[in-house]
Amino acid sequence: MANILIVDDSRTSRKMLRSILETNGHVVVDEAINGEEGVKKYQATKPDIVTMDITMPIVDGVEALKMIKAMHKDAKVIMVTAAGQKSKMIECIKEGANEFLTKPFDQHEIIEVIAKLME
């Protein structure tokens, strides 16, 4: 079981992700709707894992990843992308992203990725 913070500007995606995570025994400690709020809520909740959407207004997922990793280099951050964001994904790998999930969500993929990070 992992404590997870969901950062995504889309209510639909947050809801889908929360449903999959909770159905599989994980705890969603909080949700944030952009990168700036995500960084603040990371510091407040100190989750085991963050799922971070890449495309968000105000502060995007790549910038939020950099901020979180600068403060907590061992933070486990799963970047959530639509297919096709290749250059952004490379940037995320350079900044220390731990894993990637692709939209639309595949329950098996999500659970596998989280189990791998919790090992």
Partner: protein, 305 residues
């Protein structure tokens, strides 16, 4: 060899079936019955593969899940994963049968039309649409890409790529009975609500879905798996996420040609808007009696007022 693969996606039964309804040859209810019977006969490729013990249920589920995020055909993914050989896929497709023939046979078996009625209607449809015999072969084959190209008013490959992905994703994720009508170019169009996304980079693209009344719920509800009372901002968020998935697959396709585009967060309008641009494409799509428009503009900005 790969060109012989016919995917599980098919649209001509809906396109021609709705023409039969519009010309009062059959009723809407009769068409629904025919399609329902057709779907029971037309078994999914994965189910046949499992029944033939060529794949396990887990492998078939895995391929089905990958289809949703990869915009690839079942057979192609199964071959790539090493679950089936190309020869096995061809054999399975033969077992699956010709979808158009199943549709025609069902119309005849239900005593709705005779074969000569159907042939006459097909010839009339061809003439009304201005299609050649080759165009009709493309339509009847069920190849989505060829069908989309026939319905598009431009040969620009960016439009055909993006619209092809949109149609395939719509049929896979939203509704297997979705179908398209002829697209057109306009400088201005009115919509009751809109979810749209800008793509930036080597090309500038704007794409999204516009609807009248509550028609966009036909996308929002199945995508979010949630009921919405009306097309509010939450419902539009779901339509925006669906658009994001389409555009992601489009960006992924372009990246194979070293074309880089980046996606910006989708924008939503829950009040009436006028979309203005320079000859942008409006592609009408029907989902269970709801008409929505897929809007695409390449290298031309759209203004929304």
């Amino acid at each position: 060899m790969k060109k012989e693969f016919v995917g599980g996606l098919y649209m001509f039964d809906q396109i021609f079936g709705n023409y039969l309804v519009a010309t009062k040859r059959i009723t809407k209810e009769q068409l629904k019955d025919v399609i329902a019977i057709e779907n029971t006969i037309r078994v999914k490729l994965g189910l046949i593969a499992v029944a033939e013990k060529l794949m396990t249920t887990e492998q078939a589920d895995e391929v089905n899940n990958l289809q949703a995020i990869m915009d690839r055909r079942f057979g192609d993914i199964a071959v790539e994963k090493g679950y089936l050989t190309e020869e096995q896929v061809i054999q399975l497709l033969k077992k699956q049968g010709n979808i158009y023939l199943i549709f025609v046979q069902t119309l005849i078996d239900k005593d709705l039309l005779t074969l000569s009625d159907i042939e006459a209607a097909l010839a009339e449809y061809q003439q009304s649409m201005g299609f050649t015999a080759t165009d009709m072969d493309d339509l009847v084959s069920g190849d989505i890409e060829r069908t989309v190209n026939l319905f598009l008013p431009t040969a620009n490959t960016m439009y055909s790529k993006l619209c092809g992905i949109a149609v395939r994703t719509l049929i896979r994720i939203i509704h297997s009975g979705a179908y398209v009508s002829k697209a057109f170019l306009v400088d201005e169009i009115y919509a009751d609500n809109l979810a749209i996304q800008h793509l930036d980079g080597d090309f500038k693209v704007v794409s999204g879905f516009a609807g009248a009344d509550d028609s966009l719920l036909s996308i929002a509800v199945p995508f979010a798996k949630e009921e919405f009372a009306s097309v509010d901002m939450d419902a539009l968020d779901a339509v925006g996420e669906f658009t994001n998935c389409i555009n992601g697959l489009f960006a992924s396709d372009l990246s194979k040609e070293n074309i880089e585009i980046d996606m910006l967060p989708p924008l939503f309008y829950d009040e009436s808007v006028t979309i203005k641009g320079n000859k942008f494409c409006v592609f009408p799509m029907s989902i269970e009696d709801n008409n929505v428009s897929f809007i695409v503009s390449v290298d031309e900005e759209l203004t929304i007022e």
